[in-house]
Symmetry: C2
Subunit: 421 residues, 2 copies
């Protein structure tokens, strides 16, 4: 066992060393050319013509690497390199659809680091025990078709696809029609055999936040994904003349909303401590006139926390605070926190150590495909720093040395997982 | 002198007693039929076809009362009953244009109470020393053509009309064209001789606020009109991901805006005391997304106070608070407070006393034509209660007994002013 472990370690290090900075960075620039914006960003809607062309480019590259490519009912692409045995595969990957004013890295980095791993295996002359698949998950952003992470969630629970198929984009095109068009564009792709449970999934992604940068740590091992609660609070007052209505007789809906916002903010921090993230992002004021007292105000709260008990306590306190203020509280969305697999996390920790790279544990504030994959197989994520914490923006950027280090840590981790019994 | 005063008193009381509840209430209903809404309200845009028909009705009624009607360059109508001498006239009146979902009383009540006064003089067989004119001021609401109170402000300073003539309504019609159409509709109206300064102006109006009703006082003698300051505060933050951005690293523009709002609110009350009216009515949040920290927030402040020194102090404090918070403060509009004439106010007080009616002094929170007339001649206003303080609304209402009492107080006051030397 020790000898197998030490041998695995040696192979993992060798494959990681074959990750090519030049090839990885070039592949990022090439993929970014499909839907390139004038400002350096990318606009590539899920399953649109640019996405199809980008996928065609990846399929060609996969075949050049000697990999097979299969596709499932939600147009997820599986770029597979066979192992020495018939064991369950190790999966990696992310998405290549972007926000309308997105950057080059969100999602794409994880897919391309997965393909870089396949290339590094080839260059290192390594055939892993388990097969490995670099996956392109469909429509993660949720910008063209709602909700997001359709591909990964439908992979984990295919019954979801029936609901998703009716989703329409802004032009009225259904997801069903977009999937048909995708199938027609790739008639030679084999359907993926859907009944094999993966051995593990690792997603490499940019952090999209400032924690790694401010800690000056190049790698993040992601413990899990925060849970979230979305509410809309509907505050009623009486619209009245700003000049003729004395202050004591006013029922200003904004004054009411701000008192509730302050209470919700206090409760969020008291319940959740330093892990709390609470945002009051959307505001609607009626009649929104300079000389009329606000008669109705609606605002949203986005509360996130890694602890399900804290989320549940917030639910209860938010409802009771709204009742106390006489405000209607509408629940819009909820997702439980996801804890990644301890053994996969330990593998990621080990890879960072083996590379001599500093790493820190953190929790993802954003959703990712790994949030759904965690329900399918042991999963975890790796993060690299985002400059200025900026994402969903053409200015999204990561140092080249961090991009390479992340790809090496991914390669090391995947190799270790592929060699596992 | 004493004998003249006592004689005037007797005449004023006699004319006031001839105010007819039946005729006054019927005239309100008749005028409300021009532009009647299904919900009991009125929609009669300034100088539109309905306004022209309403004016034609008033001109016919005026002529039936033996009055002459003249018109000036801004389509203000002057319904004149001659006096015994050639002294400067006493003016009363208000406006008959309405808000799109206006009531039957705002403006109309003042015009119709003026005409009721002319009818009461006729019924009482009284010929006053001074001529009296009931005026219909054009476009007070400012809804069709901006700004409001065009007619009264152009009457006071005819040079303003040159600027107003280019104002366009939502269909692109200029005020100049609307004035031409009005002239064509009333070819037989004599132009008013514009060089006579009036002896006094009294405007009777509904309060449009809750003070008289809550004090259970039927008449208000209006000391003046509050001054106003309008500002827009432009708060800059950094839009960022609600899930990935830790609380200490956020620059939430809404948090900044609310701190400034709280400071402005404190300062407004500290400077202005109980007379302060401060409203934060219009809010714009960018990107206004549930899961994005607000990156930019603009909001308005409407500060009103009867004391020019308080308004000036607020200007200074608002600017310095905005600077301290690093927020850009944009001045949108300002109007100085107006103090009505002490002698005219004393005449109104005396009329209320003579009628045995309780009255209180108050300050108008809303603008009125009298705001401009005060720069032309000694002026003041009388208020009657608004049910629930509601105005600019089909539900606008005043008890019939208050409407009659207000018209009697106006009749008494005007008679006293008309008999003055």
């Amino acid at each position: 066992m020790t000898s197998h472990r030490s041998e695995t370690h040696e192979i993992a290090a060798r494959v990681a060393a074959h990750v090519s900075e030049t090839r990885l960075l070039a592949s990022i620039e090439t993929l970014a050319s499909f839907g390139a914006r004038g400002d350096g960003g990318v606009n590539r809607p899920a399953l649109g013509p640019l996405d199809v062309e980008a996928r065609r480019h990846l399929v060609e590259r996969a075949r050049a690497l000697g990999c097979s490519v299969s596709v499932d009912a939600c147009a997820n692409l599986f770029i597979r390199r066979e192992g020495t045995g018939t064991l369950a595969p190790v999966l990696t990957g992310s998405h290549i659809d972007t926000q309308p004013s997105g950057g080059k890295l969100d999602g794409c980095y994880g897919v391309l680091a997965g393909m870089e791993y396949l290339a590094a295996l080839e260059d290192a002359g390594v055939r892993t025990r388990r097969p490995v698949e670099a996956v392109v998950w469909t429509n993660e952003e949720g910008t063209r078709f709602s909700p997001g992470a359709m591909g990964s969630s439908a992979f984990v629970d295919p019954a979801r696809l029936a609901h998703y198929r009716d989703a329409r984009d802004a032009e009225g095109v259904t997801l069903a029609a977009a999937l048909d068009a995708h199938r027609a564009a790739f008639p030679d792709l084999a359907p993926r055999a859907g009944d094999v449970r993966a051995h593990a999934f690792v997603e490499l992604h940019i952090e999209q936040g400032p924690l790694l940068e401010s800690a000056q740590v190049p790698l993040g091992v992601v413990n899990g994904i925060q849970g979230v609660r979305w509410y809309a609070l509907h505050c009623e007052g009486v619209a009245a003349h700003a000049g003729t209505t004395p202050m004591p007789l006013r029922r200003d809906a904004m004054t009411l909303a701000l008192a509730l916002r302050a209470d919700l903010n206090d409760v969020a921090h008291r319940l959740g401590g330093e892990s709390t993230r609470v945002t009051f992002g959307r505001w609607s004021v009626e009649p929104n006139s300079i000389n009329t007292i606000p008669g109705a105000v609606s605002f949203t709260v986005d509360f996130r926390h890694p602890d399900a008990a804290v989320l549940a306590a917030f639910d209860e306190r938010a409802q009771s605070l709204a009742r106390r203020h006489g405000v209607r509280c509408e629940a819009l969305f909820a997702h439980a926190p996801v804890a990644f697999d301890a053994r996969v996390l330990a593998t990621l920790d080990g890879a960072c150590r083996a590379l001599g790279a500093r790493a820190m544990r953190l929790t993802s504030g954003a959703f990712h495909d790994a949030m759904y994959l965690a329900a399918h197989c042991p999963s975890a994520m790796l993060f690299v720093p985002s400059k200025g914490g900026i994402s969903h923006n053409p200015a999204e950027a990561t140092d080249a040395r961090h991009l390479v280090l992340g790809a090496r840590a991914l390669a090391h981790s995947l190799t270790t997982l592929c060699e596992a019994a």
